[in-house]
C-alpha cells in the first residue's frame, strides 16, 4: 500500500483505528440505546436513527477482544454502510481525516504513528456471524 487517502481516524478504549471515509455515512451522537437481551456483546444495543433501527456494534468485541464500555446515549458513533447493512461503531473520540502509509510492515498515519485499519465488510460479516450463532441457537429449556 503506497498511500491511502481519506480515512477517518478514531479512538476506542485508547486504541486508534481507521476506516476509509467512503464507508462512513455519518458521524452521530447516539440517542437512547435500547439493550437487546440474548444478543452477543458485539451488539451493544439498538438506536433510533432517523426512524430506522440502527444496530450499535462494539468493535473490540467483534474483533474477539474484551468488550468496551456499554454504548450510552450521547456517545459518539460512526454510521457505516456496507454489504447492505447500516450499523454504527461506538467510538470514544473521532480524531481527524487523514492519509495512511505503510511503514516497516505497519500502517501509520502522516505522523508515523501506527493504527489499525478496519475493513467494515469484515466487521459486519463477523458481527453477523456472532449474532447468527447466538440468535438461532436452540432455546434453553
Amino acid at each position: 500500500m503506497a498511500e491511502l487517502r481519506n480515512v477517518i481516524v478514531f479512538t476506542i478504549g485508547g486504541v486508534r483505528y481507521a476506516v476509509e471515509l467512503r464507508w462512513v455515512r455519518e458521524v452521530v451522537s447516539l440517542g437512547f440505546v435500547t439493550a437487546v437481551p440474548t444478543a452477543p456483546t458485539a451488539l451493544g444495543g439498538v438506536c433510533n436513527l432517523h426512524g430506522t433501527i440502527l444496530p450499535v456494534l462494539d468493535v473490540a468485541a467483534v474483533l474477539g477482544q474484551a468488550p468496551g464500555p456499554p454504548a450510552r446515549q450521547g456517545d459518539g458513533a460512526l454510521v457505516l454502510e456496507t454489504e447492505g447493512v447500516v450499523c454504527a461503531l461506538r467510538v470514544d473520540q473521532v480524531d481527524h481525516v487523514a492519509s495512511l502509509h505503510e511503514s516497516g510492515g505497519a500502517i501509520v498515519d502522516a505522523g508515523g504513528r501506527p493504527l489499525t485499519l478496519l475493513d467494515p465488510g469484515m466487521i459486519v460479516r463477523r458481527a453477523l456471524e456472532m449474532i447468527t450463532t447466538v440468535g438461532t441457537a436452540e432455546p434453553q429449556a
Binding site: G31, F32, T34, A35, V36, P37, T38, A39, L43, V46, C47, N48, G51, T52, I53, P55, G84, V85, V86, C87, V124, A127, L128, I131, T132, V134, G135, T136, P139, Q140, A141
Partner: protein, 722 residues
C-alpha cells in the same frame, strides 16, 4: 408478440399492463433521480449498479406482460448503463441530459406502447439510446423533444408536480380517498371555530362572574346590613350566569364529541388511503397458477373468494411471495393426479381456493386445496428420521403440532418432493414473512380431503395493536393478535391457571437477563399456533397502537424478536416473537403436563358450511367455529349452499331456516338425499322454534335446533351432542 400468445384474458392483461406501467414509471424515475443527483458527472459505481438493476427488472416485467419493444428498449438502456462502468467510459458531460431525456421519453412511451403511434416513438428512443452508448457518432446539438408529453394521468393527482428528491415506493391513491381526507380536514376547521367561540363565551362569563363577586363583596363590606335589593340583584345575576355556564359546558361537550368523530373519520380515511382490494393479489395468484399448470401439466383450477376485501397495499406486496409459495406447494404436494382423484370419486380437476376476508381487525387469507391432505404419520416419521425431532417429542405431539412443524422448518410432506415447491423450505419462509408483518400462519388438513393454510394478518402494517409491558426497565411489545389475556402469577410458579387451563409460565425477566424479586407478578397470556403460555413481566403498560419497524439484516438472526417500534419519545422498543416464546415454553423435553396443554384449541375439527342470509351471523359463526378448529365456508342461502355441497363434502352444516331462494328445511331434505350427506351433523339456527319445527328437524335427523341469538356456549352444547 400478439396478445393471443399470452396466457391472460383481455381484462387481466389490461390490468397487468396498468400495473407494469406504474411500476416501470417508478423504475425510470429512479434512473432519472440517480442521474440528476450526480449533476453532469458520471454516476458512482453504486448508482450505476442501482440503475442497471431497476432497468433489468423493467426488462423482465415487460416480457411478462408481452411488451416486447419495451423489453428491447430496456435491454439497450441496460447495456448503455453497463458501458459507462467500463474503461474507456463513453460518458461525456452531455450524457446526463441525454439519459434524463431518454428516461422521460420512455415514461411517455409507456402510455402509447400498445397504440399505433408507439412504434415510431420506440424507433426514435432506440436511436437515442444507441447514441448515448456511442457518443462520438451523435450530433452535438439536441433535437427538440420527440414525444408529446402524455395527458395528465387521472389516477395520481397527489403525485404530480410535487418535488421528489429521492424515488422510493410510491403509494397510488384513488382521488375519492383524497377527497374524503380533504372533507374531514375542512370539518376539523369548522369544529375548531365552534369550540373557539364557546371558549370566548366562557371567558366573558368568567369576567361577569368576577364582577358579580365584586358587587357582592362591596355589598357585604358596608358597615350596615347589606340591602336586600343589592343581594337580590347579585343573586339573580349569579343565577343567569350559572345557567349560561351549564349551557355552554353542554354545548362545548357536544362540540368536542363532534371533533372526536371528525378525527375518527380522518383516521379512517387515512387508513383507507393505504388500502386496496385483494383483487390484484388474486390476479397475481391466477397468473402464478397458470405458469405452474404449464410447467407441470397439473389439472388445477383456481377459485377466488373475497376479491373486494380491502387491505394494506404494502401488506399485499409482501404477500405475493408467500402466496406463490403456497400455490406451488398445493400443486406439488397438495393435489393428486387426475387418475388418483377419479379413483377416490373426486372431480378430476383439483381446485385451489384463495379466500380473503376481514375478521375484526384482522385480514384472513386462506389458501386451500381439495387434495390428499397432509399425512401426519409420514410427517412425524420424517421429523424423526431427519433428526429434527426426538422420537419422544414426536410421540407426544398431537396432529396440530405436527402440522405446525411444517411451517417451522425445512421438512417436506412428501418424500419425492420435487424442486417445484422447494422441499418445504419455502413454507417456513411463509411463516417468517407473515410473522414479520405481525401476523400468524395456521395449517389444517384432513386426510383425503385437503389442506388449508390460513394467514392471519393485521389489517395494516403501519399501525398494529400491541400489548406493551416492562421488563428490567425496558419496554417490550407483543402483537395483540397473540395476546389473549393478562393475569397475576406467583413468583415461583411454573404453571398458572388461566380460564380453567394450566399453562406453562415463561419468566421473561430471566429470558431477558434481569431477575426480579416480586412475589406476585403480572403475566401476559400469549397464544400462538394453538399453544398458550403466561409470560411474567415487571409491569403491564397496556395495549397501544404501534408502528412495526423491521430489524434489518444484521439483527434478523435474533429470532426472539419480530421487529421493533419507536416510542413517542424516540426510544426503540423490541417486539417479541410469540412463536419463539411458545417454543421456549414448550421445549423438546417430554413432559406430561405440557402435552396435556396441547388439547386446548386448534385441534382440527373438520370443514363446516354455515348458511344464513345475514352477513353478520355468517361472520360471527365463522369466527366462533374457527376458534373451535373448524374450516368454515359460508353461503347466503340454501341454493348457493347446495351448489357448494356438490363440490365439497362438509362435516358439519349449520343453517338458518328462513332464507331467500331455498329455505333451511328444503336444503336439508335435498342434502339427506345425497349419499355423502346422509348422516352429516346438521344444526339449525333460528329465531323461531315451534313444536312443528322441532318435529320436522327430528325427522330429518337434525342434531340440534339452536335459538338465536347464538352464543358460543349454545353452539358448543349443540356440537357436544354429536
Amino acid at each position: 408478440m400478439s396478445d393471443g400468445e399470452l396466457d391472460f384474458d383481455a381484462d387481466e392483461l389490461a390490468m397487468l399492463r396498468q400495473l407494469f406501467r406504474d411500476e416501470a414509471k417508478d423504475a425510470l424515475e429512479t434512473v432519472t433521480t440517480r442521474v440528476l443527483a450526480g449533476g453532469s458527472a458520471k454516476p458512482t459505481p453504486d448508482a450505476l449498479t442501482e440503475m442497471m438493476r431497476v432497468t433489468h427488472t423493467l426488462k423482465g416485467a415487460a416480457g411478462t406482460v408481452g411488451l416486447n419493444t419495451m423489453v428491447d428498449l430496456s435491454h439497450r438502456l441496460e447495456s448503455a448503463l453497463a458501458s459507462f462502468g467500463r474503461e474507456p467510459s463513453p460518458w461525456t458531460p452531455a450524457t446526463a441530459d441525454l439519459l434524463v431525456e431518454v428516461t422521460d421519453a420512455l415514461r411517455a412511451y409507456l402510455d402509447v406502447a400498445t397504440e399505433p403511434t408507439g412504434d415510431a416513438v420506440a424507433d426514435t428512443i432506440r436511436d437515442r439510446i444507441d447514441q448515448i452508448a456511442r457518443p462520438n457518432r451523435r450530433p452535438m446539438s439536441l433535437p427538440p423533444p420527440f414525444v408529446e408529453p402524455p395527458p395528465e394521468p387521472v389516477i395520481e393527482p397527489a403525485l404530480d408536480g410535487a418535488p421528489v428528491p429521492e424515488t422510493k415506493a410510491w403509494l397510488r391513491v384513488e382521488p375519492e380517498r383524497i377527497d374524503e381526507l380533504m372533507s374531514s380536514a375542512g370539518e376539523l376547521l369548522f369544529d375548531r371555530t365552534r369550540i373557539e367561540r364557546r371558549v370566548q363565551l366562557l371567558r366573558t362569563l368568567a369576567r361577569d362572574l368576577a364582577r358579580t363577586r365584586q358587587n357582592l363583596h362591596d355589598a357585604l363590606d358596608t358597615p350596615d346590613v347589606p340591602s336586600r335589593a343589592a343581594l337580590g340583584e347579585a343573586e339573580s345575576e349569579l343565577a343567569g350566569q350559572a345557567a349560561l355556564l351549564s349551557q355552554t359546558t353542554a354545548a362545548l361537550l357536544d362540540e368536542i364529541e363532534a371533533l372526536r368523530r371528525t378525527i375518527g373519520e380522518l383516521q379512517k380515511s387515512l387508513t383507507r388511503i393505504r388500502m386496496g382490494p385483494a383483487r390484484d393479489l388474486m390476479t397475481h395468484a391466477a397468473r402464478t397458477l397458470r405458469a405452474l399448470r404449464r410447467a407441470t401439466g397439473a389439472r388445477v383450477e383456481l377459485r377466488t373468494i373475497g376479491e373486494e376485501t380491502e387491505f394494506d397495499k404494502a401488506v399485499a406486496e409482501q404477500l405475493v411471495d408467500p402466496i406463490t409459495q403456497l400455490l406451488r406447494n398445493a400443486v406439488a404436494h397438495g393435489v393428486e393426479p387426475p387418475e388418483e382423484r377419479a379413483a377416490k370419486g373426486k372431480p378430476a380437476t383439483a381446485t385451489v381456493t384463495i379466500r380473503a376476508r376481514q375478521d375484526g381487525n384482522l385480514l384472513v387469507l386462506e389458501v386451500s386445496d381439495d387434495g390428499r391432505g397432509i399425512d401426519t404419520a409420514a410427517l412425524r416419521e420424517r421429523l424423526v428420521s431427519t433428526g429434527q425431532w426426538s422420537a419422544a417429542r414426536a410421540e407426544l405431539a398431537n396432529d396440530p403440532e405436527i402440522l405446525d412443524a411444517l411451517l417451522g422448518s425445512g421438512v417436506s410432506v412428501r418424500d419425492d418432493a420435487d424442486e417445484l415447491a422447494g422441499r418445504g423450505i419455502g413454507i417456513g419462509l411463509v411463516r417468517q414473512t407473515v410473522s414479520r408483518l405481525g401476523g400468524e400462519v395456521k395449517v389444517s388438513s384432513m386426510p383425503g380431503r385437503g389442506t388449508t393454510f390460513s394467514l392471519r394478518l393485521p389489517l395494516s402494517t403501519a399501525l398494529a395493536q400491541a400489548m406493551l409491558f416492562k421488563v428490567g426497565g425496558q419496554v417490550y411489545a407483543i402483537p395483540n393478535v397473540h395476546v389473549i389475556d393478562t393475569t397475576l402469577v406467583d413468583a415461583l410458579a411454573t404453571t398458572a391457571s388461566v380460564r380453567h387451563e394450566q399453562l406453562p409460565v415463561l419468566r421473561l425477566d430471566a429470558l431477558l437477563g434481569h431477575s426480579s424479586a416480586a412475589d406476585r407478578r403480572p403475566g401476559v397470556v400469549v397464544s400462538f399456533a394453538g399453544k398458550s403460555l403466561v409470560c411474567t413481566v415487571d409491569k403491564i403498560i397496556g395495549p397501544r397502537e404501534i408502528i412495526i419497524k423491521p430489524l434489518g439484516p444484521l439483527l434478523a438472526p435474533l429470532t426472539l424478536y419480530a421487529g421493533a417500534t419507536i416510542s413517542g419519545s424516540g426510544k426503540i422498543q423490541l417486539i417479541l416473537d410469540p412463536a419463539q416464546l411458545v417454543r421456549r415454553a414448550y421445549p423438546d423435553a417430554p413432559d406430561a403436563a405440557i402435552s396435556d396443554a396441547g388439547s386446548a384449541p386448534m385441534v382440527l375439527a373438520g370443514r363446516a358450511l354455515v348458511i344464513d342470509d345475514s352477513r353478520a351471523i355468517r361472520e360471527a359463526m365463522t369466527s366462533m367455529l374457527g376458534r373451535e378448529g373448524w374450516i368454515v365456508d359460508v353461503a347466503e342461502d340454501g341454493a348457493r349452499a347446495l351448489q357448494m355441497t356438490r363440490q365439497l363434502r362438509y362435516d358439519l352444516i349449520v343453517t338458518d331456516l328462513e332464507m331467500p331462494e331455498l329455505g333451511g328445511f328444503d336444503l336439508i331434505v335435498h342434502l339427506r338425499k345425497d349419499e355423502r350427506f346422509k348422516t352429516t351433523p346438521i344444526v339449525i339456527i333460528t329465531s323461531r322454534a315451534n313444536p312443528e319445527h322441532r318435529r320436522r328437524a327430528r325427522d330429518l335427523g337434525v342434531l340440534a335446533l339452536v335459538a338465536k341469538p347464538i352464543t358460543r356456549r349454545k353452539l358448543l352444547e349443540a356440537l357436544a351432542t354429536r
